[in-house]
């Protein structure tokens, strides 16, 4: 059987007596030469046309020509200048090597493939300009709608910026009446009514998971390793306290004492629901976690995190900070607990952020928080890992990498995870360091000899000088430049002058 060849559209139309409209092909830039025509015809004499006004070159450039072998010619390497960082984000200062302005936008860097995650880690000796650079970055990013949460300002360094912006930081501690409920609903309370039933269910699940994680971390900080039963019961207790089990349409506020009370004095429904044989078994099984929570209420932390939050927080402010400088009197434990509560809070805020909104979370002296145990270390770890998906820029600020190693005994799991945290921060900002620490840095970040010398030499010469290293590409020697407005606003030495950090 013979098959007729398939007809094209043009043929089909021709066969039916019509013609396809003719579309002229786009104009060819250079018409193909006819056969025999020379392509290589001189357009003009070698040095131009000798006519008035035609810019005739009287003398061809008498360049000195050399000959060298390809083994040596590389010594004259001309590609010395860097094109630098794309001009997006916050303008930080100069790249002193190339003389170009230096910009920072960690999220954009990820998008352009310069880095793999938007996290920053900042190391430097005190007084080398760490906080000024971080604060300048935060302020300059605000111009593009970026919101910032200072997840625990241990030294009160960020408060001057907040005050300059007309925002009052949340301050906790000695002599202050401010109270923060560790289990605060935060922005959820305000948005709850506007959500659909489905969304409410989803948010509630996420909230419960986060609270359970927080309570478990707080118990672990006191040396008790919670079990899965503890976690299951805590989830049930929280669910009951929130009022979702009895069909209430609004969420009831919950505090740590409420949870502790439920555990210490369970009603029948609770122990039955959680499949205990009797009340006694319930109490005996959950005794350690009940006491761990009780210690939070009665110990040095009493009254700080166990009462309803008694201030209004502006969730829409460009920056929010919790000043913990007055908490130090209550010991490291208090600071660490506060930081853990804040960490839980900050992840709640970011869960609620709108699409496309970038949020910066600054964790100053993050190792304090991580000392609370492996759960706290894991919390930081997971935040860093998720930052790319959540459009969040996590900034870890510390003095030296070995800060991270103090979170547990040598060889422990916490130390192993803490070490990996450095790898989760693509951007490393290294301020001046003493030689001993510089060796540590060089090892951890695979710095070249020249880069290592920069951190011990050049960076020490002036404040605000740092080596910015994006992944493993060569570092940038960046001098941060503060405008006069900023110099006035974030004077981190203000407290040394005795004016209480007020703007001058």
């Amino acid at each position: 059987m013979t098959r007729t060849p398939p007809r094209g559209a043009a043929q089909l139309l021709r066969d039916t007596g019509q013609t396809l409209p003719h579309i002229p092909s786009p104009a060819h830039p250079t018409p193909p030469p006819s056969r025999g025509e020379r392509i290589n015809r001189p357009r003009a004499p070698r040095r131009g046309r000798s006519r008035p006004g035609h810019g005739w070159s009287p003398v061809a450039a008498p360049m000195t020509v050399y000959q060298a072998t390809t083994s040596e010619i590389g010594g004259l390497f001309p590609l010395l200048a860097a094109n630098g960082i794309p001009a997006v984000g916050a303008r930080i200062g100069y790249d002193t090597l190339s003389g170009s302005a230096f910009y920072a936008h960690p999220v954009d860097w990820v998008l352009r493939g310069l880095t793999t995650n938007p996290n920053l880690v900042v190391f430097g000796e005190p007084g080398r300009g760490k906080s000024s650079t971080v604060v300048a970055f935060l302020l300059r990013m605000m111009l593009f709608g970026t919101k910032t949460l200072i997840s625990g300002d241990v030294k009160g360094e960020y408060s001057p910026l907040l005050r300059a912006l007309g925002i009052s930081p949340i301050a906790l501690g000695r002599g202050l009446s401010t109270r923060l409920n560790a289990l605060d609903l935060g922005p959820i309370a305000a948005r709850w009514d506007s959500w659909s039933a489905q969304r409410q269910r989803d948010e509630l699940d996420a909230l419960l998971a986060r609270w359970v994680k927080l309570l478990v971390a707080l118990a672990e900080a006191q040396g008790y390793a919670p079990t899965v039963t503890d976690e299951a019961v805590l989830a049930q207790v929280l669910r009951r306290l929130l009022g979702t089990t009895d069909g209430a349409s609004r969420l009831r506020p919950v505090t740590i004492p409420d949870v502790q009370r439920e555990l210490a004095d369970p009603d029948e429904q609770l122990w039955r629901e959680t499949r205990f044989a009797d009340r006694r078994q319930f109490l005996d099984t959950l005794r350690p976690i009940t006491d761990a929570l009780a210690n939070l209420i009665t110990g040095p932390l009493s009254g700080l995190f166990d009462e309803p939050t008694n201030f209004d927080l502006d969730w829409q402010a460009p920056i929010q900070s919790m000043d913990l400088s007055r908490l130090r009197g209550r010991g490291d434990q208090a600071v660490a607990v506060a930081l853990t509560c804040l960490g839980s809070w900050s992840s709640m805020i970011t869960d609620l952020q709108d699409d496309g909104e970038i949020r910066i979370v600054v964790r100053d002296e993050v190792w304090r928080q991580m000392r609370l145990g492996s759960k706290a270390v894991q919390a930081v770890d997971s935040d860093l890992r998720l930052s790319r998906a959540e459009q969040k820029i996590q900034i870890l600020v510390g003095h030296k990498p070995s800060d991270f190693l103090s979170v547990g005994s040598a060889g422990s799991q916490e130390v192993a995870i803490a070490k990996d945290l450095l790898a989760l921060c693509s951007t490393r900002i290294l301020f001046g360091q003493s030689t001993r620490v510089a060796d540590e840095l060089a090892g951890d970040f695979a710095l070249s000899t020249k880069e290592s010398e920069v951190t011990t030499g050049w960076c020490m010469e002036r404040t605000g000088r740092a080596l910015w290293k994006l992944e493993n590409s060569p570092g940038y020697k960046v001098q941060t430049v503060l405008s006069r407005v900023e110099q006035n606003a974030f004077d981190t030495n203000a407290h040394l002058r005795g004016n209480g950090g007020e703007t001058r």
Binding site: P29, S57, M63, Y66, G75, A81, G99, S100, L143
Partner: protein
Amino acid sequence: MSSVRIYRGLARREKPGWIMGLSPAQALACLVLAVPVLWTVSAGQFLRALILAGVCGLAAALVVVPVRGRPALRWLAHVLLYQLGAALGWSRWQSRAAAGELDDPNEPDLPGVLQRVSFPDGPVFQHHGRVCLIHDTGEGRWGATARVTHTGVGLLSAEECDRLASRLGSMLLSIGHRDVVDRLSLLVRTVPDDGTEYEVWRARHDVAEAPDLARRAVDELDRTIGAVSVRHEVFVTVSGPEDALRKPAAAAGGGVEGRARVLYRVLDGLEDPLKALGAGSVEWLSGSGLAEAIRTGFNPDSSAVLRAGQLTGSESDEVRLPLAAAGPTQAPTPGWRRYDHDAYSTVSYSVLMPESGTVFGSLAPLLAVKSAGERRCLAMHYEVLGSRAASRSVQGYRFRSGVMRDYKASKGFSASAADDREAGGARAQEQAVAAGHSLVRYAAAAAVTVPADRPVEDHAARLENDAAGRFRLLRLDLAQDSAFVAACLPLGIGLPNARGGLL
């Protein structure tokens, strides 16, 4: 710590003197000039011999004594040509658009040596779109230019620097093996940063409700950082001679398109070596891209308008710069020692290599701008010799450096350190070529450009100071316009053609 490698053998002049530093032509001229003197002496006319000796000696001096790189006779010729151009108004420039005679916007309208260049568009080259070819009709060469971003070498370790250096050598070597292309030019420009890119980005991302403090701080930084920071532009141009391209081009369809296709094969293979040299991205320029690169060469200020148009406008034809607008609008007759174009003045130099060798990165001071508003350019033009030409050249070099030394030794004189170094260098080159390396003819040009209202001599002196101790800069007097093309424009023009037969 590893020691820093010193690269030697870079200062071998292409046309060295054969006999006591004289080229054969010069030696012949000296001999010819000596004949009448000897003639008169042999005839016993001593007074005439004396007079003739004076005259011929003067003439020989004109031929032989080099003054600032050029023998006096050549200077004389250059001055005459220069005066001719100035007197007849030939070396003045006014663009057709400025004269109101613009007819075809795609017809390039460029001064001087650039008039011989045409810029045909090639076919579509993968994802790069149409690439503009640079057809030097005078020299019969075809090339293309790419804009390259580079990560810089400031903080690389000595080993990495050595690796980059050897990669540059291998890249040139591989070009030599390709037959189709033989020249490569690298141009780096340090230009004042007008901040356009950031302005455009900021305008797009600025939030109205941003805190006033942030706005004030950023505005202040615009004035402080923005005014003095610089940007770097890096271009790479490859080109090949018509003779090498003709045959494969005919097989690829002939005409401009055939040549483009043959050239594209080389360009494709060049991206990886360039990335190995630290280039982040390689973007082969289209007609308008090349027009912009030339335009910003003549007028650094225009980059702000062009970049803004590019970043904000669509890819429509209206925002593209036509080739007719690539050149300067006006340029008066170039000065002896400077070239004025639009509202800028440029001083260009040929970079002279040090005899004692150099270290990696020694060219950096030539690019380090120290005063606001100044632009600096550095262009390296390479031409790779084929293996036969290379081995012929190194043999000749070894022979030449050996002849004088052997002669001295045979007469009982000890060889000077310079002679030894020369002989050692010649041997090293011969060994390298025998080991598979090749020879590269190269020339380096540097230039400084400042707005016309600034004292260009001060900036030029600063450039010379920065180079002091590493390189000598030879100001290309009387040829500032053609030297500008070699130093500031990414067209791969600048390396003089080898005059055959000398080597």
